[in-house]
């Protein structure tokens, strides 16, 4: 590896010299100011976006894919697929002529085929697979998407056909397979490394079919990629991609200004005004695939009474929160899913801000001198720029209807843990960013009966709602599913387990020279198809 890296270095050096000698041949290098180091380069091991940017989104492909900048599904390594009438068998017809990367220690002798798909999924699924325990991996995303309980078997039908057999119907299955954990690895590379006694290399010196191939990584400093010349969708316009790891957001902005990078991630909200006016910066923005909410503990009196929850919701001045916390750039949330997700029910009417009625409703429900806790997250998240400030505003709003609020907060890990507890005292501010663009990924994960004591922070198990989303999960017809989810949203609003707060807008500054960068609704950074003027 070392030797070959030196070779690459020499080649790069030589190409730089050539480049300076003849400007017309200058390779195009796109530099991205990223936030932090990836945890590793095997996306199946991890759950962090920083890791996915550096691995799955640059190096790998999945069977299905999200159309760039959208949550729409399009074919990936599978050209097409059939779903059996009972919804239990998914047959994928694989693309032919797809090449894996040729790297320093691997030269593929064959094209991508069914063996690679089987290897990718069996490694995560089968506890006895020779690669299952390599690297001490835990496959947390595979698990949290319930794949082990869902998949019955994965069968290689022929070299270019793979069949997934499920134990029960799962309508979001196709979307799940477009997620990062489902990135397809080379079985040939894995075999070769296993034989060489270095199976770990598969995860540290990654080989995929993606638009970029791995060149080098220096921890906390830089990751280098080069364009995959054989990419099946066509070579990406730039020749090199570099991640300059820059933890501080204001420094990222300075680097962008100085042209030390051309795209940056996650700007400091305080810098947004300056960026809008900056002549070298193009400030892109897009509605995020997220929601921020205040979840009551619906298992504890008086919050077990929907009327009380409704009354409290009506006491919150969401417009004021939007202006103060989201700096006017977000959107008030009325449903638990953002408007960018299909089946969003726009006919739902949000609880009006009406403190007088709220006060009366509380009195009618027999609630007097209510004292409650509101939990504020200690960290900034994509869906919630400042939970503390939000909590303070809710505190003031509730005071106006005679409810005394005590704001509590814990360190982040502790917050996540304590807020799940079934007998938790108080309402929790939290939120969610979608994984696969499917409504199920919000409604079942955050509000389903199964999730009580876990991600269902409202501890809300409401049978009529749960039946709808369970039914939708096993319904294949999108129109039918849409109808079910829309009904579920009506029940949600009526029962008010949460005060829905807002959907944030994601900002991404790029330099004016950058062509066709599209903000990824899932919060990722995707550089395929991006060019420099």
């Amino acid at each position: 590896m070392k030797k070959s890296r030196k070779l690459i270095a020499a080649l790069c050096g030589a190409s730089l010299l050539l480049a300076s000698a003849s400007a017309w041949a200058a390779p195009k290098t796109l530099v991205f100011c990223s936030e932090g180091s990836p945890e590793g380069f095997n996306p199946a091991f991890y759950t962090a976006g920083t890791t996915f940017d550096a691995s799955s989104r640059a190096l790998f492909d999945k069977l299905t894919a999200f159309k760039r900048g959208t949550t729409e599904i399009e074919p990936g390594l599978a050209e097409k697929w059939d779903i059996s009438a009972d919804g239990l068998e998914y047959t994928f017809h694989l693309r032919k002529g797809v090449k894996f990367h040729t790297t320093a220690n691997f030269k593929p002798t064959r094209d991508f085929n069914a063996d690679d798909v089987i290897f990718t999924f069996m490694r995560q699924f089968d506890k006895n697979h020779p690669y299952h325990k390599v690297g001490g991996a835990k496959y947390e995303y595979f698990n949290s998407m319930s794949m082990p309980d869902l998949i019955k078997e994965i069968v290689k039908v022929d070299d270019y056909t793979v069949k997934f057999v499920l134990k029960r119907q799962e309508a979001p299955m196709i979307a799940n397979l477009a997620m990062d954990f489902a990135s397809v690895h080379s079985a040939e590379y894995a075999d070769k490394m296993m034989k060489a006694g270095t199976p770990d290399k598969v995860d540290f010196e990654p080989v995929g079919t993606g638009p970029f191939q791995f060149v080098a990584y220096q921890k906390d400093a830089v990751i280098r990629y080069q364009a995959n010349p054989n990419y099946w969708r066509g070579k990406t316009p730039v020749d090199n991609l570099v991640f300059a790891i820059t933890p501080d957001p204001s420094v990222r902005y300075q680097k962008l200004k100085a042209n030390e990078c051309q795209v940056m991630f996650n700007p400091n909200p305080a810098d947004l005004e300056a960026m809008k006016k900056d002549p070298v910066v193009n400030l892109l923005q897009k509605e995020g695939l997220n929601v921020a909410y205040l979840a009551y503990n619906t298992s504890i009196a008086p919050f077990d009474n929907p009327k009380v929850r409704k009354a409290l919701n009506m006491a919150i001045n969401k417009q004021a929160i939007l202006e103060a916390v989201y700096q006017g750039s977000g959107k008030i949330a009325k449903n638990p899913i953002p408007p960018t997700i299909w089946s969003y029910n726009d006919a739902v009417v949000d609880d009006a801000y009406d403190p007088a009625t709220a006060k009366k409703m509380l009195a009618d429900a027999g609630v007097k001198d209510l004292k409650m806790k509101v939990w504020a997250m200690p960290v900034q998240r994509p869906y919630m720029p400042n939970a503390r400030r939000t909590a303070e505003m809710i505190q003031a709003d509730f005071a106006a209807v005679g409810v005394t609020v005590e704001i509590v907060s814990y360190e982040w890990a502790e917050y996540l843990k304590r807020s799940k507890e079934k007998d938790r005292d108080g309402a929790v501010i939290l939120g969610w960013t979608g994984d696969n663009g499917d409504p199920d990924n919000f409604l079942a994960v955050l509000l389903g009966c199964d999730a009580v004591g876990n991600a269902n922070r409202a501890q809300w198990c409401h049978k009529p709602f749960d039946e709808l989303i369970q039914k939708a999960k096993v319904t294949a017809d999108p129109a039918e599913r849409t109808k079910l989810y829309q009904q579920a949203q009506v029940i949600f609003k009526d029962q008010a387990p949460w005060a829905t707060i807002g959907h944030s807008v994601v900002f991404q500054p790029v330099r004016k020279e950058v062509v066709d960068f599209r903000i990824d609704p899932f919060g990722g950074n995707i550089f395929y198809g991006v060019d420099l003027k």
């Binding site: 050096g13 835990k138 220096q218 933890p247 300075q254 843990k417 876990n454």
Partner: protein
């Protein structure tokens, strides 16, 4: 001398042992655990949580975990990061040279400016220069690194465009690290312009990190000098007709250096703390940033190993400083 060294080493060993215990307990007393953090908002079932904790060996009683850890250490194994799955020692070794390079340059700047400034201030006590130095030192001492670093970036890189914003070297240079010290590696690479690029990247962070020690050194030198200058032997030296340069440069400075060396030694520990912030601002791939990340992720093995290695290094430096006293002033005898 040898006996003294032995005595010191005897003290160091239990200290090292103490550090292992503190590091081990410290990270475990923090609320939350790595599994919880990995799962994020989604959370995971208590069964799965227990399963993962068990796989990582965090379910065992803490004393047993500690015993296993000591056993591992005795075999020279600092553990494996539960996040990156890389050996802790390897990660540390990759990042540490960057921190050393930055700290050495910072302390060099601090001594190079702080020492003469303090000396001159002492010899011209009450002058405008003295007041300027002391005011500057006080300002430097109270400057928050985060703010100071950003200010310098905006001014020198943003407005003037003299220095690069952050990083260790321009991205156009690409070579395999040999020593891990960018100044050395850039020279070894033989690529034209690499060395000057490395230097230009180092100036701002080293100045920012050096500000605090510089202030302390200037103040310490000044007060030590003032004390020494009023000693009898200085008056005697002057009475013998020695020139001021010889009096101050040789007789006074040598004695004034003792407390100054102590302070410089102590500043090494302070540098470690300052490096965390400096490294974050200047995207400097060193151990400070790495330690903080590991703490936030509750990467127990990385935090334990990192703390232990840093503590060991600080202990060794302090030992060297002790030995240095004897070299500067042979009259200091280490009692054996």
């Amino acid at each position: 001398m040898f006996g003294y060294l032995l005595k010191k080493l005897v003290v160091i060993l239990p200290t090292f042992f103490g550090v292992t215990l503190v590091a081990f307990v410290f990270i475990r007393t923090l609320p939350g655990d790595p599994v919880m953090l990995m799962a994020g908002e989604r959370g995971l079932s208590p069964e799965r949580h227990a399963e993962l904790m068990k796989e990582m060996g965090f379910d065992k009683p803490i004393l047993i975990q500690y015993g296993l850890y000591l056993k591992q250490l005795a075999g020279g194994d600092f553990g494996t990061s539960i996040i990156t799955k890389q050996p802790v020692l390897k990660e540390f070794a990759t990042l540490f040279p960057a921190t050393v390079e930055l700290s050495l340059c910072a302390i060099f700047i601090a001594v190079f400016i702080g020492l003469p400034a303090g000396m001159i201030a002492a010899t011209r006590r009450g002058s405008v220069f003295d007041h300027t130095v002391m005011t500057g030192a006080l300002t430097g001492y109270s400057m928050p690194i985060f703010w100071w670093g950003l200010l310098l970036i905006i001014f020198f890189s943003g407005i003037l465009g003299w220095t690069p914003v952050s990083g260790r070297i321009s991205l156009m240079y690409f070579f395999e690290p040999v020593t891990g010290f960018m100044l050395v590696d850039s020279l070894l690479s033989g690529q034209p312009g690499a060395f000057s690029s490395a230097v230009s990247h180092l100036i701002l962070p080293a100045s920012v990190l050096g500000t605090h020690p510089m202030a302390v050194i200037a103040r310490q030198t000044r007060s030590a000098m003032l004390e020494v200058l009023s000693e009898d032997y200085v008056r005697t030296a002057r009475a013998k007709g020695l020139g001021p340069q010889r009096v101050i440069g040789l007789h006074a400075l040598r004695n004034a250096m003792i407390p100054v060396i102590t302070v410089i030694g102590l500043q090494i520990g302070v540098l470690c703390a300052g490096a965390i912030l400096t490294e974050t601002i200047f995207s400097w791939p060193g151990v400070g940033k790495w330690m903080v990340d590991s703490i936030f992720r509750r990467d127990y093995p990385a935090v334990q190993g990192g703390l232990l290695l840093i503590a060991a290094i600080v202990m060794v430096i302090n030992l060297l400083v002790d030995l240095l006293y004897g070299l500067i002033n042979p009259q200091i005898r280490h009692t054996e």
